[in-house]
Symmetry: C2
Subunit: 416 residues, 2 copies
């Protein structure tokens, strides 16, 4: 399988790009080699696709339910009662629909934490996107529940992987307030033994940090470090409330911090210290969180809010530059999961988007990266290629009408 | 001229809507009356269009120039030298292109402050959108410049209005730090004499307020009030830094406050106190500011940032509700300029958008207003009708390819 992108704009230059199997094979102008598919890319620019580092993708089924409420009112009365009614088939359909949304908004990879891992894994394989999937282990400090959680983790570990090239398993630890130290240790050992990434919600709210200090006498970061959970194979979602000691540990250990600014604003959790963490040498990625608290999975919108938030927080328009934020959303997001992608460079995995340089939001085009971060929306994305497969072309994804109709029908079940 | 919208979704019910001339004439199901144009609106919902209450629309020509810089570095080195090179024909073309962007993102009205009023007026009339246009009077406290500014104001007042149904003239006062009290008084009298709205930048930055207190011994709001500039015919852009005395005056006088959150974040000016001002009885509208500091003219994106910002500021997810923000962006925006629109109600002016209920960002559809504020982007907007004229259908605006090609060519002149 090969794709030839003719006359595509890369870094303001027009060139040709040959994709062979799943790799950018040859980037040079005027190529005449045969390819199975040739795409005329005049007036289109190629960019890395986005790597969404934290999500709960099936939750798109709850998009727009119970907005503008206090967190626990929303969780207790809107989300948890509905989540309890989800069947594996609903999760399968909702995941496929969410992946459609990610493709439409330029994303080729997501790192997820949820349950019903079999359903989610099948959906990812069917949609041919990349994902790092974790079960969000959470025993609520109860020994019986711990047993059943460990059984689910082990079942997930034994689940056959239908697309090893695209899907990796990761170890999910819900959070220090919901997982016991025994469960955390079990997960850490499992991750080390199997060389898997660890995905944890950490320091999302001031309450989480205050409670941890009261219970364990230290911050969630110090506590997780004591339990051996922090390394360059760890991705911490949110990471809003960090003190200087935390930051030092995170930078030294090379832990990845995934910021989710829209969710943090919408739930009024707090503001991620983007520029300070960058300046401290921390490694940063970007994620949307679930669509129930965002309310979409668009990394384009997430980039904009990430950059804007950094500026207001530092009281400086020089904080959170477009190029830093774009790098965080693309190259860093791939790197955190050891995916050799996120850059349009020969030898890298062929994940990319083609954007329409005639879209009004990208005109004028003095600086394409600035336009993507501050101006673009999903209407700019024409084509998405993941692992050498064309998943969207001319704004259309195969089967999208059916996936959408399915989701509309499913959602009737959750209306009041 | 009449349009029949068949089977359109309005407030979750399917109905027909007859537009006659520029008015919603009949809203009821199963209409069989003849219409010049009939649109099949199955799977489309009708919503009010957006009313952008503060912009500098020609500045789209500078989109993405000098981002992520300190304000005065950006103005001195990037914007002002380029603005000095703008010709009336460039402003005409740039305005038409910006109106294209507004149509594509669902806006039927903008209130603007700029110069070359003849060029801007022609562009608005050609594009058939609504606008309230002001010349941004600014004498920098210099008597000679005041004379020439007054001459320009008077010339604008005498300029024939090619589309009185769509275009209103307003009186622009740049700001208290750039316009002398004499110029402000002249403008206030002119506005009162001609029953025109007054459009002023006020309290955008902490420096503006501190300087005003030092120079005049009071806040910009108290100062403007002393000069007679504040009434229900006044629209103040930005209004970030307000104290309790200011808020009391603004609520009592019924002054309209136009928030521009993206610009305030991007330039790190400060955060508008949305919920506090709503709770204090102030009247609020929404605007994008110019695309040089946004960097687009999308009111959909602006709504999302407005709501998110309100929540983080108040440390409460209940602040800045989707319904309040949607009302601010639509009904309030029309009301501030005495336009009998902003609601889909019989007898109101026929300004509206049709959104695609099969767009992934609007599915599921538990709450369309929430979806519009927190999830949607321009890809959701299929059709735009302004004053009974269809300006966009099936995502396409007549002549958009030419407008875009023009803007691309023009922008070559401003590249480094």
């Amino acid at each position: 399988m090969s794709i030839l992108l003719k006359n595509v704009t890369l870094n303001d230059q027009i060139t040709d790009i040959l994709i062979q199997e799943n790799i950018f094979k040859n980037i040079s102008p005027d190529q005449s080699s045969y390819a199975d598919t040739t795409i005329d890319c005049r007036d289109k620019a190629i960019l890395p696709a986005f790597y969404n580092n934290h999500s709960h993708v099936p939750m798109s089924i709850f998009r727009g339910i119970g907005d503008d409420k206090e967190l626990f009112d929303w969780l207790n009365n809107d989300i948890w009662p509905r989540e309890a009614k989800l069947t594996p088939e609903m999760i399968y359909s909702a995941t496929k629909f969410s992946i459609l949304e990610m493709i439409k908004t330029g994303t080729t990879f997501f790192s997820d934490m949820y349950f019903c891992m079999d359903a989610i894994t099948r959906a990812v394989a069917d949609m041919k996107i990349r994902a790092a999937l974790s079960f969000g282990a959470c025993d609520l400090f109860d020994a019986d529940k711990r047993k059943s959680e460990i059984a689910k983790i082990n079942a997930f570990m034994e689940l056959p992987n239908p697309a090893p090239e695209l899907i990796s398993k990761t170890i999910g630890i819900h959070a220090v307030y919901s997982a016991s130290p025994e469960l955390i240790r079990y997960n850490v050992e499992l991750a080390q033994k199997n060389k898997l990434k660890i995905h944890i919600h950490a320091c999302e709210t001031a309450k989480e940090v205050a409670d941890c200090r009261q219970e364990h006498g230290c911050s969630p970061i110090v506590y997780l470090d004591k339990l051996g959970a922090l390394s360059e194979n760890t991705i911490l979602a949110h990471s809003v409330f960090l003190d200087d000691e935390d930051i030092k540990i995170l930078a030294e250990k090379g832990v990845w911090l995934c910021t989710n600014p829209t969710s943090n604003y919408k739930l009024s959790s707090g503001v991620f210290m983007l520029q300070k963490l960058l300046d401290s040498g921390c490694k940063i990625t970007l994620g949307t969180d679930g669509a129930a608290s965002n309310n979409n999975l668009s990394m384009i919108e997430e980039m904009s809010i990430c950059a804007l938030s950094a500026k207001i927080q530092d009281n400086s328009p020089t904080a959170g530059t477009a190029s830093d934020v774009f790098n965080i959303a693309t190259h860093n997001g791939a790197k955190a999961f050891d995916i050799n992608a996120g850059e349009i460079v020969e030898g890298k995995l062929a994940d990319c988007i083609l954007v329409d340089l005639n879209n009004h939001l990208l005109v004028p085009n003095y600086n394409l990266i600035s336009n993507m971060v501050y101006s673009a929306d999903s209407s700019c994305i024409d084509t998405l290629i993941c692992n050498g497969n064309i998943l969207m072309q001319n704004h259309h994804v195969d089967g999208e009408e059916e996936l959408t109709a399915n989701m509309k029908e499913l959602s009737n079940f959750f209306k009041d």
